[in-house]
Subunit: 141 residues, 2 copies
């Protein structure tokens, strides 16, 4: 919690109670949560928290580059407190988003922040979809 506060400060983000709670949630729940999931988790701890603040804060985190904004899910935006370049996989059946740090994904590291032709790359998102092992073998649901 104190570490989270320092983390925010060192990135030029004033550490309000709300911001600390939200970043703390992201750092301890690497599940690529939606706004709704974060809200549901934090409201019991911080009853006055509003969706507006949540949206404001997540946008701020994204702008300050302490969170990734993922568009892998067609229905909603997901957030990731892990800003190291890595790929994601979403299971089409259960919806779970998995991290992929496999070394056989050099693109992410080599092309990141480079140019392709006359395009100046500042961010990259690599997303896979399919069935996870659990859903693959489980034909029941």
């Amino acid at each position: 919690m104190e570490l989270t506060k320092d983390y925010l400060s060192s990135h030029g983000i004033r550490p309000s109670a709300q911001r600390i709670a939200i970043m703390d949630y992201l750092l301890t729940h690497k599940t690529h949560p939606t706004v709704e999931e974060i809200y549901a988790a934090l409201v019991p701890l911080m009853p006055t928290l509003s969706k507006t603040t949540l949206y404001n804060t997540l946008k701020l985190f994204y702008d300050k580059k302490v969170a990734l904004m993922l568009n892998i899910d067609e229905h909603t935006t997901r957030f990731d407190g892990d800003v190291q370049p890595h790929a994601h996989f979403q299971c089409l059946k259960c919806g779970t988003v998995y991290d992929i740090f496999e070394p056989e994904l050099p693109e992410l590291r080599s092309v990141y922040k480079q140019k392709i032709g006359d395009l100046n790359i500042t961010s990259v998102e690599l997303s896979y979809k399919g069935l996870c092992a659990h859903c693959e073998q489980d034909n029941s649901n």
Copy 2:
């Protein structure tokens, strides 16, 4: 138009007038259009066309694998009639989505439809963001 009709038929899609018009639009406008853009372009030619049909049809195209559904844009879904594996780049200033077929993106081809660990990949989306050359040099807007 006749080619488009055959194209749909050969993919198990009954070629209604609406479906032909929509696929034809996708095949001749490789601009990664939004639903709104497709609608605005087609309504003058087909005044009774509804958004519902457009949504139904684009979903059908996606399911039948004759169109890609792109999540690169955080505000809206974009569609692409080019189903060959390729990457995209969206300019953060002007919003344009460019195709990237660069050969230095082997990931897309090699990993596509393979497994990573115990995850069964069926599709992949590689999206870059940044400034395009035009917006980069143009500080005025």
